[in-house]
Symmetry: D2
């Protein structure tokens, strides 16, 4: 068990995984987050961990064993940015040490393994794990949530999502359109509505866009039914060719609310009015990542964990599995969830 931190001293974070995301988070902690420092970095490739540590102030330990990094002196909290296949044992180890964790999505690669993590945390009886669903920290999504919770729009009826990427990554597959991309809309839907998704159906456009690599279904229309009888649709277009766009409209009894319009400088030039569309999520959600990390650090400094829970990670995983099961036939796939432990509220 970690030593109690001196009040007022910065939170020591062990960053597990020194790939692109881990390196980004380490840099963010050092350059933009108040009250935290990177106390240790771990990666299976020591050189990679060392490369990240070299960009940080002196005093950051380097490890190849993630659990040793969690046990290193001055470590108060754990940020897991390793490959998703490695998450489960790392999460269980952090639970064993009682440390607050921020785990990049997905919680684990399957609903089954995610449920084991949920059960372990439930046995511990105390929330230690936050999952990296950073959209909840975006200003516009947060304001939308506030409006819904305050009842300003009345009872929600439908949600329309659009999720467009500039180009799909190399080796991107049709199941990954659900697991890596639509998983965000899964979480946003559950969070905004405060209820579970009960069935999924995925319709594909065929032939797909000629911008898509051979074999990739793109675009698709993903339909959710929710426990409250609502209908939610998501356009997922992995190869828009024009930029990154994430939009969301909630249709409610009292009106509709929309977010996601581009908000930069408007230019009138050469016969066109308009502005730039950002190429990727880094531009669109940079501030949300900062706010997510600052919120996690602030809570961890009080020895609390408050953001999206392990249950949210498990439920999202179960919905994604149903979506992937629907893709070949476009049939409606029900989502079955285990009972929700009391730790995660009603």
């Amino acid at each position: 068990m970690a030593q109690p931190r001196t009040p007022g001293s910065p939170l020591g974070v062990a960053v597990i995984g020194a790939g692109r995301i881990g390196a980004d988070h380490a840099r963010r902690i050092e350059s933009r987050i108040s009250g935290a420092r990177v106390a240790a970095v771990a990666d299976v490739e020591e050189a990679r961990a060392k490369a990240v540590a070299d960009t940080l102030p002196p005093g950051c330990a380097v490890h190849t064993d993630p659990v040793e990094a969690m046990r290193a002196p001055g470590v108060d909290a754990v940020l897991i940015a390793s490959s998703s296949g490695a998450h489960e044992p790392q999460l269980l180890a952090a639970l064993g040490l009682g440390l607050p964790v921020l785990c990049e999505k997905p919680l684990t690669p399957t609903a089954e393994s995610a449920l084991r993590v949920v059960e372990a945390e439930a046995r511990l009886g105390r929330r230690r794990i936050q999952v990296g669903f950073m959209r909840r920290y975006d200003r516009q999504y947060a304001e939308l949530k506030r409006m819904l919770d305050a009842g300003e729009l009345g009872r929600p009826l439908m949600i329309h999502h659009q999720h467009r990427n500039l180009l799909s990554m190399p080796r991107f597959t049709t199941p990954m359109t659900i697991r890596d991309s639509v998983v965000h809309e899964v979480d946003v839907t559950r969070w905004l509505l405060g209820e579970e998704i009960t069935a999924v159906r995925v319709l594909r456009v065929d032939p797909p866009t000629s911008r898509a690599p051979e074999g990739l279904s793109d675009p698709q229309l993903v339909l959710f039914e929710t426990a409250g009888g609502r209908i939610v649709d998501t356009e997922i277009l992995a190869n828009s060719g024009f930029g990154y766009q994430v939009r969301c409209e909630v249709v409610a009894e009292g009106g509709t609310a929309r977010i996601g319009e581009e908000t930069g400088v408007r230019v009138d030039s050469a016969g066109r009015w308009g502005g730039a569309i950002p190429p990727g999520w880094e531009e669109r959600f940079a501030e949300a990542y900062d706010r997510e990390l600052q919120a996690w650090v602030d809570a961890a400094a009080r020895d609390e964990v408050t953001g999206p829970s392990a249950w949210d990670g498990y439920a999202a995983q179960a919905v994604c599995e149903a979506g992937v099961a629907s893709q070949p036939t476009a049939s409606r796939i029900p989502v079955h969830l285990a009972p929700r432990p009391g730790l995660y509220g009603r």
Copy 2:
């Protein structure tokens, strides 16, 4: 057969049906359309026909028999605005007289009867009938169609429609949400994409909005599959409570294009920026009705008919019937169309 019209003299129109729509069209012809006049008005209730004629310049004949009105002196063309159950015999009569017709939607109440009209016109071997799908004459829809036909957006992949009314009419039923409202999206989809709809599925939100009268499914999400493998979704919300909105976004390989944002005065006042949402289609599509009628008059003066065809009326009807069949179970209903007569192009 009607006498040839003197060149330069106004087109004489017989208005069949003197209810709200018929009266509107008669007033429009007299006050805003160039080159036409109302030569006769017919209604089963003579008093209603006479009331409309009394608002027009002298010389408008009044009839209770629609065919007599079509045969009245000075009648060069027919505008059918009677109840849809009466359309079939009136259309066949106008075909028999060889007169150009503008027929309010729906062409007839069933796909079966609509097909009989199509076959009669095909036998005549000449287009005489235009169906009142006025959205094709809206500036924004027309510009969208131009862009697609010019290939400016590349190959279309999906369309998202939203169709919101302020409040549903009294005695509005769940099938009418398809037959009276979504029928417009059916036509717009076929027209924009230039291909037929092959299957329909209707998902409902349950419980419906509390603004809806007892027994009405509202809102619903209507899904079309098209002959080219595209997916099209339509939100139909008959009781938005806030106004009338019709929006459309085409997602294509080269980008997306959207229409339907409100375009009036922007007011910043009392802590809010924004503007007014019109209450009904009259405000939104007034200009489209003018343009539709002017275009029909201009073509009829050349003895031509060029707008949405009887085939378009038939195909829309067939899609709506599939939609209504899907409503109780949300199952996918294929659309079966008769072979398309050569008169209507490929």
Copy 3:
């Protein structure tokens, strides 16, 4: 004095001047305006008048003398689209004949001559002249005026105008930026506020835009003071290089209201969101011209004249003269108006 027109028959219009604007108006009357026809066309060059008449239905008289055209059989009203130097005698002739007139702006080339026309109409004791300030018929400007008159924004305090052309016409001069372009903002300002402009000051950007031809001051900032102590500014940019834009924002005690944003299809493509900027006023104000002409025809058919008056034409001219006087030195030039005849209201 013209013969009384048969009720219900179309209004016969004499079009004076068969240049571009006159030809446009003749075509508009024949193709889009209800209840009117071109009865005569006059131009100093007979071939030009004949060329316009040849595009119209049979029965349009051709003249070289404008007064003969006004006296031609079937002429009920006069549309003056000749060069502005010829307006005064034509207006006086039409007044002599008691015919309703629509006169393209400017009423006459100088405030002095415009005042003579005002005085002649005042002696006649009856409004016969409408000046072609067509912006008053634009939907957005009309809605703005309605809001102000209804008090929805409270007392107006300032107005910001922007007036941008794609490129200046050949031989366009610095005084023409006021007389031909800003004259519209002069009229809109007087009309929206319902009060006179009392002083003008014109500031120029120096060096001008390199898009401007040698010798043209472009852009300029034109400042009006009004009788009610309000301040109004107008950016005039004759060579924007990117398109035609007319925008207007009224700042009032209860909020602000803005018009003039582009309203067409929004396209997201190639890293940009936005839409097209029209190249010229023809696209922006086509509908306003239709509505202006229809409103003038409708009133003339009742033997009335209701739009912008000869006084409005005179006052605009006087303000423009003050603006031109300010251009060389940027000094504040007061506007002195003759007393307003009672015919034109308070």
Copy 4:
């Protein structure tokens, strides 16, 4: 002279002035800024300094003498948030100690005293002072500046600013509309264009808005001429009654660019589309304050000062004095600046 800071340890900041702004900055440093801590707080009222220190982690010294606070152990940099009348000696003391300074605007209350600070820093031969013109750190302004510097819009010709507050503070006077509000547009104009303002003229609306307290000129139109012959206008409306708005449009040879539209959730409800207008600058510029402070801390940690300079503070003061001189008569007042020391670039 301060002791060299241990590399990697947080920058110790002395906050001078514990009023609202000072307390805000202290909280910001502790909760959102990476790499800094509040090492000392000074205020003439000790209780006020202590109240701020009590909200911070242990170890923050409390002083009544600002120079003692600057000399306190662990102080590496100075943030001046005292009343502007006290700035000059505090700035000179910080220069004497060689510490990096962030000084809230205005640099000093008069151009004369500001020039003395400029001269003192020039004698030191090294930039130590940054002035708190935080708009330069707003994302939208920064993107506009980037576009202009990259030449994406061509040569700038005009700028239109609008600056609207919800309500003026108690005891707000007409000169304060320039000194406290328009001073931001002064700085933004100089920064965006990279040239000095050479003359100012202030036009007032009379009578003012009835929302303004007795004696306050509101709104006003402020006109700048620049060294490059450009014209810049600013609407200042201290009592809009509807919210806080800051907008800016640059008109350039290659097009125009605009910032400042509200960017939150769009709601369609109750017959209106639109969204919320924030009540104050805290909401609009919160992120800009964070970025300003983080940028200053990052530079100070490298012993550098890079933001708006003492010269910028002096020049803004000189322009504001000309503006205040213009207010009574609306006459054009030239701005005379002392020669710019080489320290501040060309």
